[in-house]
Amino acid sequence: MDIGGLVAAAKSADVGGAAPYIIFIAAIFTNNILLSNFLGMCSFLAISRQIRASFGLGMAVTFVLTMTSTINWLLNHYVLVPLEVEYLRFITFIIVIAALVQFVEIVIERFSPALYFALGIFLPLITVNCAILGVCLFMVIRSYTFAQAIGYGIGSGLGWTLAIVAIAGIRNKLRFSNVPEPLQGVGITMILAGLMAFAFMGFAGMVDIK
């Protein structure tokens, strides 16, 4: 195995020809944003104590991811690249994410108070969730087409939700186990996530986006 490494190879894999639905499936199972790219760990560790809250946050992330990957793809393709100011990508993406989260919050509060109460508290957290910025950056680095980018955005959101809800379920059971004191909380959750990442590697041959 070359020093460049499996991980690096998987991350910069050329996916030029893959159909959007293949990328969608791959983003959920084989290239799960949380378990294979380590993105969104902070809110993952903070929220994954309850299944309900995890699911709420997961849905909010999926929603924001779908919208940001669409808008940022269009911005990158039609504004940043033609003007040759790709180095402004980080600033552009983060402003779009922050503005969009704020906007979504206002709209939901105005039109659907019930949904706002369900998602509301999680929305501000999402601006600094690295999964959102990460997906936008990966989609540029891997030069996805528009349809591929949307598939990747939705798939990543659902994959993240799947991982966080599954871990929350395990953590619920863990309350009755005798975990050494310094390992309690975050430590054991990391090891659980490691075992789950191991399990998800079993999906590896299912879809191949290389």
Binding site: I3, V7, F38, L133, Q184, M190, I191, A193
Partner: protein, 218 residues
């Protein structure tokens, strides 16, 4: 000899002083990784190669120190409502600088690290220190605090890389150090190794480092 006798208490005194204490607290007592659990994404992603880890640590310390000093200098002029976006913009500016520098001088590493250099923007350590320290302390004190949290992050990352690279690739900084018959643990290179490795380091860190406040993280 006389020098040493004088120098030692002076250094000790400095560490007990305000700036030294602020730094030391961040490195050890309130370590960002194993106590505050911040900046985990990059801690997991880049630690399979020591070289990438060192670049990442240098980049983070640079961005953390510069961005937090600017945020601290602007703390009286930033309206409360817009302070998040101001902080993010300051951080993003320094990340762009770092990204261009790494692309220019370590292209191979920048390709391997991919999006993770850009993801320094959302590294919670920087935002966390900006919010908790820089926005209400002087520029000088902020420098030591930011340096301390950067160093605390680096210490843990380098320790993890020192475990993952030899076990996963049999090398250290690209030089083979394991005996010829050693079979590489591929698991250490792959994501599960990162999670389990960091989990163990959190365990060790929490068991040996002194505790400041009891956090309800269960």
């Amino acid at each position: 000899m006389a020098d040493r006798v004088v120098a030692k208490p002076a250094l000790l005194k400095w560490f007990k002083g305000k700036s030294g204490a602020a730094m030391l607290e961040q490195v050890w007592v309130e370590n960002p990784i194993f106590r505050q659990i911040l900046g985990i994404c990059s801690a997991l992603a880049v630690t399979n190669l020591l070289r990438n880890t060192l670049i990442m640590c240098a980049a983070l310390i640079f961005v953390n120190v510069c961005a937090n000093m600017i945020i601290s200098a602007l703390r009286d002029f930033t309206p409360r409502r817009t302070r998040m976006i101001t902080q993010v913009l300051v951080i993003a500016t320094f990340v762009i600088i770092v990204d261009l520098v790494i692309k220019a001088f370590a292209y191979e590493a920048s390709k391997q690290m991919g999006a993770y250099v850009g993801l320094i923007i959302t590294n919670c350590i920087i935002m966390g220190r900006a919010e908790a320290f820089a926005s209400r302390n002087t520029v000088g004190l902020t420098f030591w605090d930011a340096l301390g949290s950067g160093l605390g992050y680096s210490v843990v990352l380098i320790a993890i890389a020192l475990m993952r690279e030899p076990l996963g690739f049999g090398t250290l900084l690209g030089v083979r150090i394991m005996p010829a018959g050693f079979v590489e643990w591929q698991l250490m290179v792959l994501p599960p190794g990162a999670f389990i490795g960091l989990g163990l380091f959190i365990w060790i860190g929490r068991a040996i480092a002194p505790e400041k406040v009891e956090e309800a993280a269960k």
